[in-house]
């Protein structure tokens, strides 16, 4: 809103004094409707979710958010989001930690290091990876990745660094670690392709200047490329994080639908989105349905917070660079 007001009247009408042309009016009208429509849609979604969650809000109140229970059995119904909030946080943060270094490596390689003939095809491949539907990755996760992880990777990790409680005993093919790896594959190309484009925007003079001062290539990357693109990379990470948080289908298929809060990554888990996707259709009671919508409300608030955080970081980075919006 504020940015609209800041635009001067002259900027909106390129020829002051002349009557606005019909074409301009149509453009303004349709664009205006689209903008208002988007706002109305978001408003309706929030209102609908809030009203759908009301019975659960009434029954369980705020403690629903951290209670670790989900029992839909007739006569002993009890619901809480704690387990799924934990699962969402662990899988998304884990995926972000795994994906970021790899994605930055890919982006640096493609923007700074790779010879020209590799650049084009690999860039195209990375972007294709970003376009694979999540349900396909989820299926592949179940059929291919989960058995490999269960039979080879999980036991190897457990026997070598099993003293860390994160890598406890494993027996389930569908577990939190599988979910993290699947999410990593999904968000890696997002972070990589955005970071690559940001690295390309670093002015050539700055890079050449640094190299001219006799620094190594790595020192140039650390001293020039990262600081210049830092804010954007942070935003790319948060974008990837946002996708990991909201992802339902792929993780619903590979997490094993566990309940509880535990350190062992090789145990089963569940996320907010996964629980909703799996149980909404077959929900047997009004209270269960309402509790699932309550989960959606929590997910919505969580995503909005992540988005706001991303905007804040980008704006601060831009201001630091002296390009305040």
């Amino acid at each position: 809103m504020t940015s609209l007001d800041a635009t001067t009247d002259a900027a909106r009408r390129p020829f002051p004094g002349r009557r606005a042309r019909f074409g301009d009016l149509i453009l303004q009208g349709t664009a205006g409707i689209a903008a208002v429509g988007a706002l109305v849609l978001v408003g309706l979604i929030v209102w609908k979710i809030a009203s759908g969650a009301r019975p659960a809000l009434h029954a369980f109140g705020l403690p629903f958010v951290w209670h670790v229970v989900w029992n839909p059995v007739h006569g002993r119904e009890a619901y809480g989001a704690g387990s799924f909030l934990f699962g969402t946080a662990v899988t998304s943060i884990g995926a972000l930690l795994l994906a970021t270094p790899i994605a930055l490596g890919v982006a640096l390689f493609l923007s700074e290091l790779a010879p020209g003939w590799i650049r084009g095809p690999v860039t195209a491949l990375v972007e294709t990876l970003a376009a694979i539907p999540s349900v396909v990755i989820g299926l592949w996760g179940i059929l291919v990745l989960a058995p490999i992880l269960r039979d080879h990777v999980d036991p190897a990790l457990h026997s070598t660094i099993g003293f860390i409680p994160l890598f406890g005993p494993s027996s389930y093919g569908s577990n939190v670690f599988t979910g993290i790896v699947v999410l990593t594959i999904m968000i890696l190309p997002i972070i990589a392709s955005i970071s690559r484009e940001l690295f390309l925007t670093v002015p050539q003079e700055l890079k050449e200047g640094a190299l001219g001062l006799g620094v190594t290539r790595w020192e140039m990357v650390r001293g020039v490329v990262f600081p210049y693109a830092g804010g954007g990379v942070a935003a790319a990470m948060i974008l990837g994080f946002g996708r990991a948080v909201g992802e339902a289908i792929a993780v619903a298929l590979v997490l094993g639908d566990g309940l509880g809060i535990h350190l062992n990554l090789f145990d089963t888990g569940q996320t907010l989105g996964g629980k909703i996707a799996l149980n909404y259709q077959g929900s047997g009671s009004g209270l269960e349905t309402s509790s699932l919508i309550y989960l959606a409300l929590i997910l919505l608030v969580f995503s909005i917070l992540v988005n706001l955080l991303a905007q804040l970081i980008v704006r601060r980075a831009a201001r630091r660079k002296g390009l305040a919006a």
Binding site: D9, R19, A20, L25, I26, Q28, G29, T30, G32, I33, V36, V69, W70, N71, P72, V73, H74, G75, R76, I142, L143, A146, P147, R150, S171, Y172, G173, S174, N175, A252, L253, G256, D257, G258, L259, T268, Q270, L278, N279, Q281, G282, S283, G284, S285, G286, L287, E288, T289
Partner: protein
């Protein structure tokens, strides 16, 4: 000038909104026009969906009615019929299990099936199992295959020392209802700590979506145990337990065992529900498979203009329709149940 521009803009917005409204009305009009042309629309159980899918073509040719079924799950089916969004709702659990439920509905048992318990122990086939031991496994109290409780049932077979991985459904399901209903019947521990439902709070194990997910999880995990619609159990080439019934026999989930169990309860309760899990010890149930279930169709008593068509389709389903079942391991309804169903269908009016 600016004021004038604003006015034009506002009127444009209004015109566009009106346009959108007109389009919406036209779309809604065509959609509602479609339902009046001799069709019966249902939603619900995924368990019964393969059978209803088999019915669609013959219903269309025999009755001239197009039968449309949307497998959204039992809970979705009950809520669709409760809110009159469909002509019928199909559910694996009886209506009494739902809250809110459809108090103005008639409940009609329309298909008969069973749940198979599958396992992955390489080439070891046809192992024996009892309900009590099964309940302990699914509670996480028995965790190794060569536990004496299991080896005792399978003398002469060399069962390896292997960790048991429990696989269950992660979505809501009539199969889960049937399975947990059985465990609640045979184990008081299960009944008090977990209970019966289309989805429950599992004490242990890995959850997978749909029967295909459970079958896949068991297939790829050595030492796994799970439960699926008997059709999946038979067609997945996995180990399939012979379950001990109360007469002391170990029985496979095949036609003979299911039909024997079905004779347990052929006189539905007033609300139309029937329970046939775990038949008692008797000569009649010597060969009964203990994890069998009826699945139901629910219809509003006053179904409005489409009542005649709905009654035609249901009458066909409980008679002619049953012959399509055995290929999918749905066994034909016993005569007494068909007679009851006919009475129930008579209660439907416009």
């Amino acid at each position: 000038m600016p004021r004038n521009g604003k006015l034009v803009r506002v009127s444009l917005v209004a015109a566009a909104a009106a346009g959108v409204a007109v389009v919406a009305v036209v779309i809604a009009g065509t959609a509602s026009a479609k339902t009046t042309a001799g069709s019966v629309n249902g939603a619900g159980s995924t368990f019964v969906a393969p059978l209803v899918a088999k019915w669609e073509a013959p219903v269309s040719s025999a009755l001239g009615i197009s039968l449309n079924y949307n497998p959204v799950g039992s809970g979705g089916g009950v809520s669709a019929i409760t809110n009159k969004q469909a002509d019928f709702g199909a559910s694996d659990a009886p209506l009494s299990q739902f809250d809110p439920t459809c108090s103005s509905c008639v409940q009609i048992p329309w298909a008969l099936a069973a749940t198979g318990v599958i396992y992955n122990l390489g080439s070891l086939q046809h192992l024996n199992m009892t309900g009590q031991v099964l309940a302990k496994i699914f509670q996480g109290k028995i965790t190794n295959w060569n536990s004496p409780a299991i080896t005792k049932l399978n003398k002469g077979k060399s069962i390896p020392s292997k960790q048991i991985t429990v696989v269950h459904r992660s979505d809501s399901s009539g199969t889960t209802y049937n399975f947990t209903d059985y465990l609640s019947h045979v184990s008081s521990g299960w009944k008090s700590s977990v209970g019966t439902g289309t989805s429950v709070s599992w004490p242990t194990g890995e959850g997978e979506a749909k029967s295909a997910g459970v079958a896949g999880g068991v297939r790829t995990t050595p030492g796994a145990i799970g439960y699926v619609d008997v059709y999946y159990a038979v067609h997945n080439h996995l180990g399939l337990f012979k379950m001990k019934n109360r007469s002391g026999n170990f029985v496979q989930p095949r036609a003979k065992g299911i039909l024997a169990a079905a004779s347990l309860d052929t006189h539905p309760a007033k609300d139309g529900s029937l329970s046939i899990v775990n038949p008692p010890k008797s000569k009649k149930f010597r060969n009964a498979y203990p994890i069998c279930t009826y699945t139901y169709v629910d219809v509003q008593r006053s179904s409005g203009g489409n009542a005649t068509n709905i009654k035609k389709v249901l009458s066909w389903a409980i008679t002619m329709g049953q012959s399509f079942g055995p290929a999918l391991i749905f066994e034909p309804l016993p005569k007494a149940v068909v007679a009851f169903d006919k009475k129930q269908i008579k209660k439907i009016h416009s």
